[in-house]
Symmetry: C2
Subunit: 494 residues, 2 copies
């Protein structure tokens, strides 16, 4: 059964290693945001560092992302302050706890909120550019070079009951959706400047442990040969998540094994998690994924309503697209259809601007006509829309508490977009579970003992973001760079 | 960190064992339904068997249950046939796959469906009595001595689209809710008759492994002394689930860590799972639990409607109480209130008969009055009920496909029961995840390698039932006795 792609990777025993091809202090598997940040800190702490990256270049999933970085607390980052926002650390903690509830890692949240302003300064110290400006539109990512934007549910019900809304997404100062490449370019240069020994096209195969179960190195395939890498201080697994491993998805996150589109890099096969499990590491939050229904831009669609096959609304449409995706897909999994209902004004530039891929399922000069075209139960959509419009006209949504800013009556003619999974709509996902780690990146057994010599960061672990329903853009890149740094520091100090 | 109640239990090394207090072929931890079934099969295969039970008597959670047993396939059990039902194996497989979807263990389902008629004969061979009769009412359990009843969602949408409805719950021939004690009495006697060495008040502490990681025995505390038990053929962990371990619940099944009432025995602390994890076992389905909203009896409440804080219905109310509980609690977790709306006829003997504990939240001579009393959005409940009544009058429910048998218009006066979690309503739960095992009960590492000498069954593993949304009464006792037997056989043949 060991060819199973969900099988933990059996380690090698160091007593079977006859010679070391490479000796280093810290060996890092994966050169995305987490691996790069770990390398910089480990090198700055005086360690000799090697990075082994499967691909032919650095980047990982961070380079594919928009690289908004979720930061705040301590009164606010310089950008938050320049844009007139005060961000109290406790307010940020309260927000993140509201986002992830029982699933939150309170210790990681506390550490992150206390230090993310420091993280901002570390990033700018490396040359990461942030403009002291705010993008006020509702967007998935900034396409201008403006910095600060609301990237989650901060202004949406019920989060406003738990924390004051403050924008914490920090977009790099670059035009277009180019934050990820720029961030990785800067981090890669910082790694190179520190004399880190970088090996591309190098596939980590298995960890090397001694008889006490301590990690002493890693086997890496380079130029079609197995190389034995000795890591005197530790191996740091920064090898991404497992959204590209269908079998792991089915085994560990079966709820999300339903035809979603994986977003990540082709190396997101769970190899780091499986290598960790092979030396006895525990895992956490493996059943959870990010999922999204990316229905804005155009932000004007937010004026519309999202309904199920009973024409019931089920979420305040001013939420973050991940929360909407979670509720459309997971909470509504008994529904055979999901539609976005808009009017022409809300439809706006949908065809030009949207990432959604949802096709028009019906149109109507009246709601009754649209209802019939969508084969919804008679009077169902008529009632839902009449009620919504009546409330919207009075500036309130007693059902779902959509904020007044996004309430206005919808007027004929109407358009319905088919957002049903499997009917063309883009539902991206990636995994949010991984190796169980301490705040400083040490990998834990299910006994909660530290595995000596083994560290992990990024989506090889579970970090700040734990569910799509509480996710905000910037939480992943924020988490992987921040906890990547801590893992690098603690490996160097090992 | 090792005092943490979620910590895997560190095993002892057999080379540190100076003498064996007890030597046996098969050591079984836990004397509930799984342990008893394993003991009978292992003894019948010629093995010397010891059972170690934490409590002062056999029983486990099986004795606390109603002990309906979910069986069918192969044309039908003798009871199914006597009651006029034909149950095709593929039909049963289709049903169970529809219940658990991506989470299903197809191999276990196949094995179970092919052999559950054989399991029926094994049980009756031991003296378990089943009357050749059917209980036709909608009930959580049979309080008569009748045998066959529908115990799941077999007759409810959408399951009727996947399989022909056949009742598969087999209640023991005993008056009252006394199936569990009777089943365990019979199984216990069968174990005793086979000369199995039974130790009560005995707490298993940790497994004993050799340098190859093979399980050789178990440390058990008996009379306040640690005893070293050698198990030449294997140890079978039948120690229950982890619903009584709040820390494990928070760590592994955080969605269900919300104030539900654990149902199980006080030994359901996950100790078997943690012992298995301590020797490198993998786990599966740990994030899932059974949860229920036990709103019937009286079955007449099924004529009512269940609504959320927007007065939206969200499930066909003729489903199994576990599916309703899952949808009320997990799928509707953004709802601040859940109400059951009934009329006086449906309310019936609620106060005398119900297990629900829900208090009356409001009454009304009109729906408008009730709506106001419940502080629901204006016209919301009026619309929902008018629509429901109009459809019920015509014998159809185009929204949720509640079956015609449970449709009739509700008439004033109306009553609302408050089914909101945390407001008095009984929401029981237990865990549905555990050690990863083969069909025949061998425990697997995350590498999918077999851990030699280690077996598990019952809720220490994940078996047939994987979610509350697809659960049916009888699936647990069916699963634990069936796979307990297989584990006993394979340990004996080791």
């Amino acid at each position: 059964m060991a060819t199973d792609k969900t099988a933990a990777t059996k380690p090698r025993n160091s007593k079977d290693i006859t010679h070391w091809d490479i000796e280093t202090d810290v060996a890092i598997i994966g050169f995305g945001g987490a691996g790069a940040s770990a390398a910089i800190e480990a090198a700055d702490a005086g360690s000799k560092v090697c990075i082994f990256e499967l691909a032919s270049a650095s980047g990982g999933s961070t380079a594919l992302s928009s690289a908004e970085i979720y930061m705040g607390g301590n009164g606010g980052t310089p950008v938050q302050q320049a844009c007139g926002y005060h961000d109290d650390t406790q307010n940020m903690v309260n927000y993140l706890k509201a986002c992830f509830g029982n699933q939150a890692d309170d210790e990681k949240i506390g550490h992150y909120c206390e230090n993310s302003v420091g993280h901002y300064h570390w990033l700018t110290g490396l040359g990461v550019p942030f403009k002291l400006s705010e993008l006020k539109e509702r967007a998935i990512m900034a396409l201008t070079d403006d910095c600060l934007l609301f990237t989650g549910n901060e202004k949406a019900h019920p989060f406003t009951e738990h924390a004051s809304p403050v924008p914490r997404g920090h977009n790099l100062q670059v035009e277009g959706d180019n934050g990820g490449p720029l961030l990785m370019k800067i981090l890669t240069e910082a790694v190179e400047q520190r004399g880190v020994d970088i090996h591309y096209d190098s596939r980590a195969l298995s960890l090397i442990v001694n008889d006490n179960g301590e990690v002493e190195g890693v086997i890496v395939r380079i130029d079609q040969q197995e190389k034995c890498i000795r890591a005197r201080k530790g191996v740091i697994l920064c090898a991404g998540g497992f959204c590209m491993n269908e079998e792991m998805l089915k085994k560990y996150a079966p709820t999300f094994d339903c035809g979603l589109i994986p977003i990540g890099n082709s190396g997101d096969t769970g190899s780091g998690i499986l290598m960790g499990m092979g030396v006895g590491a525990g895992t956490t939050n493996m059943h959870e994924c990010f999922v999204s229904l990316p229905y804005y831009p155009p932000s004007s669609l937010t004026y519309g309503i999202l309904i199920n096959d009973k024409a019931q609304r089920f979420i305040n449409e001013d939420c973050y697209h991940g929360r909407v995706g979670y509720n459309a897909l997971i909470a509504q999994r008994n529904s055979s259809r999901i539609y976005f209902i808009t009017d022409l004004e809300g439809y706006g530039d949908y065809e030009k601007m949207s990432y959604l891929g949802a096709t028009v399922a019906g149109t109507g000069d009246t709601i009754a006509e649209l209802e019939q075209e969508l084969a919804l139960p008679e009077s169902s959509l008529q009632h839902t829309l009449e009620t919504y419009n009546r409330h919207a006209a009075s500036g309130e949504d007693p059902y779902f508490h959509k904020s007044e800013a996004w309430l206005r009556p919808l007027t004929p003619p109407f358009v319905a977009l088919d957002c049903t999974l499997g009917r063309g709509t883009f539902y991206p996902f990636f995994t949010l579970g991984g190796l169980d780690t301490t705040v400083d990146g040490q990998v834990l057994t299910p006994e909660r003992n530290i595995i000596k010599g083994l560290f992990a960061a990024g989506r090889t672990t579970a970090g700040i973001p734990r569910t799509a329903s509480g996710y905000a853009s910037g939480m992943s890149v924020g988490d992987v760079t921040y906890f990547g740094r801590l893992a690098g520091k603690s490996a160097a100090g090992n």
